[in-house]
């Protein structure tokens, strides 16, 4: 150890505080750079206590030298009080009292204006109410006659500061209590890096402060809860003020009463750290300090005794008692300290020393394991001796290796080698593994001996280690050992030997590598080893490798051939291609297919002749593979072959030819395709034309305009199709000419689609119809005019509407028809009313029909109407429909509406013989969308279709859907939805915890039926974006599940994003996450009660689509029997008797028992329970001593669920029938539980017996959780039985007692009441009793299900 380290270690021992030592270390090098002055001496608070603490807090940062200026006592002459403010960087005000002398005031103002820093601490807020400038510096204050003349009240509301000029007194506070501080500005140097919310220790919460509040920035607020006599406002607790060039940091926290000996608010880490950061900011405008470890969390106060961070020793003291299942907090603290020390080797060495010291001597195994992990990162040779000792101990060997293996020092290898001889079995294996991992060359000799070890694991480890070390000595050992090695180690041994070769090759010893590769290649080792050897040869000497590959291709080992072909990837070069293609003819079909694939992968076009040859093979598989390879290897010359094959072949060959034709990358290919078209026969021509589209050959338009006039109809049609895809605006006139010249109706329709599609691609929506409109006036031919009108209808540019409306009045009926058709085609639902109007009023039957068709089509396109409105429109269309044909059309439109109402409407026409067929089709199509949301009702309708339909395909589809319904029946698909709920400024993460009306007032919320899923394959996915839109919102889903019995089931959930689930009003699952949906990703075990159960889910969303799904399955994944699901349950019978409600009406006298909203173990006094107002939880009074609580109702046999929480060391118990007790106690971590530990059946008592206590029964295992955590009992209890004369014939019996899910008693009889019972006698019925006088305890969610009497 060097001298520095010795000095430091000594310091550590004396000061025993690592952080302080670091500071001292810093202080010895330089005096702190900043000067602070604390001004005090008068205060209605305990300034004598607070000022030294403030000094200590500031000095601890290492940044400040601190002086204290103490004023003369109150009422005495102040003229001498003249602190030299100007000499300081920051002035801390802990003063409220007599005015300062005038020149002191002037000096203070001058100091601030010229850039001085000020920290206002707690009661100093209230100083000098009359001094205007002082108040501008402090910003806000209270008392001292402050009122509206002093300035506005300042508080926080709806995301911003409110300056409230209402009249009233300034300054008040309720009783001291712990409260949560919320940082409102998170990017300020002071608050940056702090948690957004943190719990402050019990303190006064200043409220109603008022003052000038100029240039004031609120950093943090706290909610002044009316229950603590607060204002109900978020009051500022930390803020800054700019005055002149000066900066003020103002903290209202840190109350200390006069003469106080304990100062919880000043010990709060939050207070200390914000004070330190604030003081630095006030002094310099910057913050250089790091936020230390152990800052309070949103719910937990954190305190530092003596106002400083815990030392390494403090933390280590906690770490050595760490065990699995306990809080990892001390471990986190330790790793934080280590991480912070990374930059300083000196600090790290000190820490390492301490850790090695601890791990060598003390600590649980879990602690040692943790420390070893730390040492694995920071350890040096200094730790090696300690770790080496642990190496030979079976309990610590693995963890020691964990550290040793990562420490890069030869001392480690030496220690490992040393331990090799002293160990055996698994320990030895581990050590060998580590030596291998470390590539320790010096271990080769020892490892070589172990190759023949009778212990297979040892030999195997030695083999692997030698392979990893891989030097020539290791290789020699492996070579020698190979012939004698145990059979099952041959493969690993060959592997290790090859690893040596790889090493030689990597280090340039090609010759030695090749020797091994060759040896292994010709060996009788398994194929895999020989393949690896071949690959080695290829890498080391490609020529030789190639020769070997060729030999293999010539040979008849097809398996080796397959592997060798795979390796061709790694041998580049034309000669290689040439050589292997020469072998193609010799290969089997499989081999040829593989080789063709490999050639394609090589991308070397010199293989082309061979591939073309293979394309002529008599084997279809080979031809297909060759055609595929042409995609990569072919050039323009292959266009003809591919096109021809595409035109004539079938199946995979045709697919391969087409896709290769589309992929050919030779630059001449496009020209070749275009050039080939004129001569090609019509089938080939079609393929070539299609490839123009697939290859996006824009220059091909001219050619296509020609082929569009080809004598062959197929060619013309294909040309039009491709033109539709690639033609551009400039081609429109030519396309229109083309259109006007076409004679065939079908081609004309295709051409219309083509023109319309090209026009629709024009970016400017208002110019799309331009070219067509320009062409129209000169077109006289009626049918041509009609075509163009039809095109206009498809383009849907509003500029064409006047033309179409004029055409409606054209003298030619055909033109009128075309105009109506165009309007009926209009892709814009805005025309829906026009068409409805024409359909209703037109005299012309054809027009009626056309407009009706348009109307029906537009209903389908209309996205603004609700499904209900659409149903109405379809009904209207049905009435307007003049004949069965049009009614059929309405039905086919209706079939697109996937709602249950649509299904019902379609089903109604199943009776109409003229429409039955269409109705059947419509029903199965709609059912496709409703079977998720209405599985049962859809099933009934489908069954009817199966019954009446004569169409096999319809019946099949209906059957398929019913099958699917059966498959998804376990999914809960019938839901009501409410929402979306949003809150301004709240993202999904926050929304998760905001309670919206469905949580607070579910019955007065508007619930709608959840629309059906649109993903046919997943009808159980509840698509919330379709139901309630998207973006930072929340939706609720609810349904009811009827269970034939009380049972535990698995609720398998999926959600995008966060999900919270309530079953019968209780949260059973919560996962505030963001993710895509994966059914069953979350699993909650839930207990359904007999009868109807209410299920509600809350889903949060951040963006994009969102959805949820839920299914119930049995615990082993099966399908639960007899469940019913309904959004509106017929009966809501509830067999559970809930004992905890919003009053004590279910209980007898309740003494000091209280109903509260939350109970936690009081962090400041863990023996007590702290509560928050509300309902749902009961506690036995502030002191934990009051009466026992007895239920009003009496029970015989029953099942009970009880949730309870005890504070540290506390005690209670549940008395069944008021007589038989299951003990409640803080028994956390008790290793040998007795009857008096939690979950025990407490003993009976008889003064006359010896021993007096008897029949106590310990729990089978101690299932206790730590104090402060909620625990559960689930008990099946059987009352004693009596015969008609009243004599007992069977004892009371605990059939099952389950503590925190673990069975702790089964069928334990109790012969009579437990000690400390309420009743001495035994009865057939009795109340449930909760013990209330043994210490603080809280209970919640107690329910009872009476059971049928079983036979005794």
């Amino acid at each position: 150890m060097n001298r520095w380290a010795k000095v430091l270690t000594a310091l550590l021992v004396v000061v025993f505080c690592f952080a302080m030592a670091a500071e001292l270390f810093a202080q010895q090098q330089a005096t702190p750079p900043l000067k602070a002055l604390i001004v005090t001496g008068q205060n209605n608070h305990g300034w004598k206590q607070s000022s030294p603490v403030l000094k200590q807090i500031l000095e601890q940062t290492g940044l400040f030298r601190v002086d204290i200026a103490t004023s003369p006592p109150k009422g005495s002459d102040m003229t001498t009080f003249k602190p030299d403010f100007a000499a300081y960087d920051v002035v801390v005000l802990d003063y409220t009292g007599d005015p300062w002398p005038e020149n002191t005031n002037t000096a203070f103002l001058r100091y601030v204006k010229s850039g001085g820093g000020v920290v206002v601490y707690h009661a100093a807020s209230n100083a000098f109410p009359k001094w205007k400038e002082f108040n501008e510096i402090t910003g806000l204050g209270g008392w001292g006659g402050r009122d509206e003349k002093s300035g506005p009240y300042v508080y926080w509301k709806d995301g911003k500061i409110v300056r409230d000029m209402n009249p009233g007194r300034g300054g008040e506070h309720g009783p001291q209590h712990a409260f949560q501080v919320i940082n409102r500005k998170t990017d300020h140097p002071i608050t940056k890096g702090l948690p957004e919310k943190w719990m402050h220790a019990k303190d006064e919460l200043y409220s109603k402060l008022r003052g000038p509040a100029k240039n004031l920035t609120v950093l943090a607020t706290a909610y002044a809860d009316p229950k603590q006599r607060g204002t109900g406002r978020h009051e500022p607790v930390l803020f800054t003020v700019n005055y002149g060039r000066g900066r003020t940091f103002h903290t209202v926290l840190g109350h200390v009463g006069r003469g106080s000996t304990s100062m919880p608010p000043m010990e709060c880490v939050g207070f200390i750290v914000t004070f330190q950061l604030g003081a630095e900011w006030a002094a310099t405008g910057k913050v250089t300090q790091k936020v230390p470890v152990g800052f309070p969390t949103a719910s937990q106060v954190r305190s530092w005794k003596d106002y400083k961070p815990p030392s390494l020793d403090d933390i280590l003291a906690k770490v050595i008692t760490y065990n699995y299942g306990r809080s990892r907090e001390p471990l986190s603290e330790l790793s934080d300290i280590i991480r912070n020390a990374y930059d300083s080797p000196e600090e790290l060495r000190i820490i390492e020393g301490r850790l090695a010291g601890v791990v060598g001597l003390k600590g649980t195994l879990a602690c040692k394991q943790f420390i070893c992990r730390q040492l694995s990162i920071i350890g040096t040779k200094d730790s090696v001796p300690t770790l080496a000792k642990m190496l030979t101990n079976p309990k610590t060997s693995d963890m020691a290796r964990y550290a040793l293996e990562r420490i890069p020092d030869p001392a480690v290898d030496k220690a490992l080698r040393g331990a090799l001889g002293k160990t055996g079995g698994k320990i030895k294996v581990g050590i060998i593994n580590s030596l291998g991992q470390r590539r320790d060359k010096k271990a080769v000799k020892q490892l070589g001996k172990l190759l023949s070890d009778p212990d297979k694991d040892i030999a195997l480890a030695a083999i692997s280690a030698l392979g990893k070390i891989g030097n020539s000595k290791a290789a020699a050992k492996l070579y020698k050992a190979r012939p004698k090695i145990q059979a099952q180690l041959r493969l690993p041994c060959a592997h290790a030997y090859l690893m040596c070769a790889d090493k030689f090759l990597a280090s340039g010893s090609k010759r030695r590598a090749l020797q091994i590769y060759r040896r292994m290649y010709v060996s009788d080792e398994p194929l895999s080893i020989r393949v690896a050897a071949l690959r080695g040869i290829i890498t080391a000497m490609p020529d030789t490798g190639l020769k070997n590959v060729l030999d293999i291709l010539k040979g008849d080992d097809t398996q080796m051939q397959a592997m060798a072909i795979g390796l061709l990837r790694e041998i580049p070069g034309r000669e290689v291609t040439k050589a292997v293609t020469a072998e193609m003819p010799n290969l089997s079909v499989t081999g040829k297919v593989q080789l063709l694939s490999a050639l394609a992968g090589r991308g070397d076009r010199s293989a082309l002749p061979a591939v073309l040859d293979a394309a002529k093979s008599p084997e279809a598989d080979i031809r297909a593979a060759a055609l595929t390879a042409l995609g990569a290897l072919g050039d323009a010359s292959t266009v003809d072959l591919l096109a021809k094959t595409a035109a004539t072949a079938t199946g995979p060959e045709r697919e391969a030819a087409r896709s290769s034709l589309y992929q050919l990358s030779d630059p001449d290919v496009d020209q070749r395709i275009l050039a080939g078209i004129p001569q090609a026969d019509s089938k080939v021509k079609v393929e070539l034309i299609r490839s123009i589209g697939e290859r996006n050959v824009v220059i091909g338009v001219e050619t296509l305009l020609k082929t569009a006039g080809d004598p062959e109809a197929k060619v013309r049609l294909e040309s039009l199709k491709v033109l539709r895809a690639i033609a551009q605006r400039k081609h429109l006139p030519a396309l229109i000419r083309l259109l006007l010249n076409l004679q065939s109706e079908s081609e004309r329709k295709e051409a219309e689609r083509c023109v319309a599609a090209v026009a629709r691609r024009i970016v400017d929506e208002n110019r799309r119809a331009e070219v067509v409109l320009a062409a129209l006036p000169s077109v006289k031919n009626v049918s041509s005019r009609c075509s163009l009108l039809s095109v206009l209808g498809k383009i849907g540019d509003d500029n064409a509407l006047p033309v179409l409306r004029t055409a409606l009045k054209d003298e030619d009926v055909n033109v009128r028809d075309a105009a109506i058709r165009a309007l009926a085609d209009w892709p814009d639902p805005r025309l829906i009313d026009d068409l409805r109007q024409v359909a209703r009023t037109s005299e012309n039957k054809l027009h009626q029909v056309l407009s009706l068709r348009g109307f029906v089509r537009l209903i389908g396109l209309d996205s603004s109407s609700s499904p209900e409105q659409k149903i109405k429109m379809y009904q209207e269309a049905m009435e307007l429909a003049p004949n069965a044909d049009e009614k059929k059309m309405v039905l086919s439109g209706l079939a697109n509406l996937k709602t249950f109402a649509a299904l019902q409407m379609a089903a109604a026409y199943l009776e109409d013989s003229a429409l039955q067929k269409e109705a059947e089709v419509a029903v199965v199509r709609i059912a496709d969308g409703t079977y998720g949301s209405h599985p049962q009702k859809t099933k009934v309708i489908l069954q009817n279709v199966i019954h009446i339909s004569k169409d096999d395909s319809v019946r099949q589809r209906a059957n398929r859907l019913i099958e699917q319904i059966k498959q998804f029946e376990d999914y809960l698909t019938a839901w009501q939805v409410s929402g979306a709920y949003t809150k301004e400024g709240a993202g999904p993460h926050k929304l998760f915890d905001i309670a919206f009306p469905p949580e607070t007032d579910p019955e007065n919320v508007k619930w709608q039926i959840m629309p059906t899923a649109t993903d046919k394959g997943k009808p159980y996915i509840l698509e919330l974006h379709k139901a309630v839109g998207g973006g930072d919102r929340v939706a609720y889903l609810r349904t009811n599940v009827w269970s034939p019995k009380s049972q535990k089931l698995r609720l398998e959930l999926g959600s995008n994003d966060g999900i919270k689930v309530w079953l019968n009003g209780r949260v059973v699952h919560a996962n505030n996450t963001a993710r895509t949906i994966a059914p069953g990703e979350d699993i909650a075990e839930v207990t359904l009660r007999y009868g109807w159960n209410k299920l509600m889910m809350k889903i949060t969303q951040s963006g994009g689509t969102w959805s949820a799904c839920a299914r119930l399955s049995t615990l082993d994944g099966g399908s639960p029997k007899g469940l019913k699901v309904a959004t509106d349950p017929a009966s809501k019978a509830d067999v559970r008797i809930q004992l905890i409600g919003d009053d004590f009406s279910t209980w007898r006298k309740h003494g000091d028992w209280q109903i509260v909203g939350q109970a936690i173990m009081n962090p400041e006094n863990e023996k007590r329970i702290a509560t928050e107002p509300g309902i749902g939880v009961i506690v036995n009074g502030p002191k934990g001593r009051t009466v026992d609580l007895l239920s009003l109702a009496e029970f015989a046999d029953f099942r009970a669920h009880i949730e309870f929480m005890v504070s540290r060391g506390s005690n209670s118990g549940v008395y069944f029938m008021g007589r038989y007790e299951i003990q409640i106690l803080d028994s956390w971590a008790v290793e040998q539980p007795t009857f008096s530990d939690c979950g025990g059946i407490y003993q009976r008592w008889d003064d006359k017996r010896t021993p007096k206590g008897y029949e106590g029964r310990p729990p089978r295992v101690n299932a206790s959780l730590p104090p402060g955590q909620w625990q559960t009992f689930d008990v099946i209890f059987r009352a004693p039985r009596f015969d008609s004369s009243g004599s007992k014939i069977a004892n009371a019996r605990f059939e099952k007692v389950i503590h925190n899910g673990i069975l702790v008693h089964q069928n334990v009889q109790v012969t009579g009441p437990t000690r400390a019972n309420t009743y001495k006698d035994e009865k057939p019925k009795g109340p449930l009793m909760l013990q209330g006088d043994h210490g603080p305890v809280a209970y919640r969610n107690i329910w009872i299900v009476p059971l049928k009497r079983s036979q005794p």
Partner: protein
Amino acid sequence: MKTKQRFTRRSFLKKTTGLAAGAIAFPYVVPSSALGKAGTIAPSNRIVMGAIGVGSMGTGDMNGFLNKEEVQMVAVCDVDKNHRENAKNRVDDKYRNTDCATYLDFRELIGRGDLDAVMMALPDQWHAIPAIAAARAGLDIHAQKPLARTIREGRAICNAVKRYGIVWQTGSQQRSEGRFHRACELVRNGRIGKVHRVEVGLPNGRPSETKSPIPVPEHLDWNFWLGPAPWRPYTDFGNGTCHWHWRWIMDYSGGQLTDWAGHHIDIAHWGLGFDYTGPVEIEGKGVYPKDGLYDVPIAYKINCRYANGVEIIVANESEQPKHMGTAWYGEDGWIHVNRGGLWAQPQSILKEVIGPNETHLYKSDDHKQNFLDCVKSRRQPIAPAEVAHRSISVGLLGEIAMLTERKLRWDPEKETFTNDDEANRMLSRPMRSPWHL
């Protein structure tokens, strides 16, 4: 009873050399009626597979393979008896026999000698050892992402795959989904110009909870489950078993980050053409739970700089403007893709055709089919080991950057940090005896 004759493609190929495949009818234990299209696949082309790890993910994968006609699943392996039996039942159900073998120890399954391929779906600490053993036995492998728990383990897998010339497919199936392929091809072909920044949004982490050790259930070999990971007493990680929430414990996984790195970072790399490289500078910050059982970050943000200046920012989705998925930003626009959709600015990009002379990325429509096709053709599948290694490396590097809280410089060739010894120590993890790579 005489054991039924097992038939494998491996042995078949050897025995039937020179004869046209499928020319001889073989008696086969599977009734053709159970094989979908009346058993159209000749026995010679059937790929005989085993499944290692048949929990939830593994069962999904196994079902996928069971549905492929050319696969014959003959063995399943899991350290949980319940998983084993369920999987066997599924296989036997499919083939209407009782032939599926069960194993607790993957070494026995690999050592059967009659397999062509294995599929693996295991906790991350168990990714490397069985993979290397299977590769050594010459088996082709379909394995779940992330490739490995550490960078060194991933490298060892890649080496073994290469050394034994086996076909490896990683379960990063997004590569076989049209939308992702399309997005990457558009980016690769410069449709948004030169890319300067990529945002990768992965799921948010989960808060922790404290749980006490409990007795090991009878159906589970806990020691084997832990395998090379440090010992700890059995704990219900959630939902009553250890199978669900191991992902939130660093001994077994890096949490959502390393789970999803194999997807959206993988896609980011694909689009950028970074399949065979990695970042040169990494910096990260994580929010770690301090006290509960789970110790992976709840929130995380990692900045990676690549040699050509591109920056990839990986974070939990709440931290990303576009939330989940991969978003590339280029000089001329952006493209964003996730499992919910494909978006771009300008939108018109999405309709553009990629011409024959542009870069066409490997195309696969069916991830498992692609693997099987490659087993037969010996081609590289769409998600080979090296690519998966480079994808997960970003997550693993990010994990180390967050744990050290330092800016790390990385040499993607040598795969070492050039400026940080502590970080270098984290590239591998010592294994509990007797396990080793």
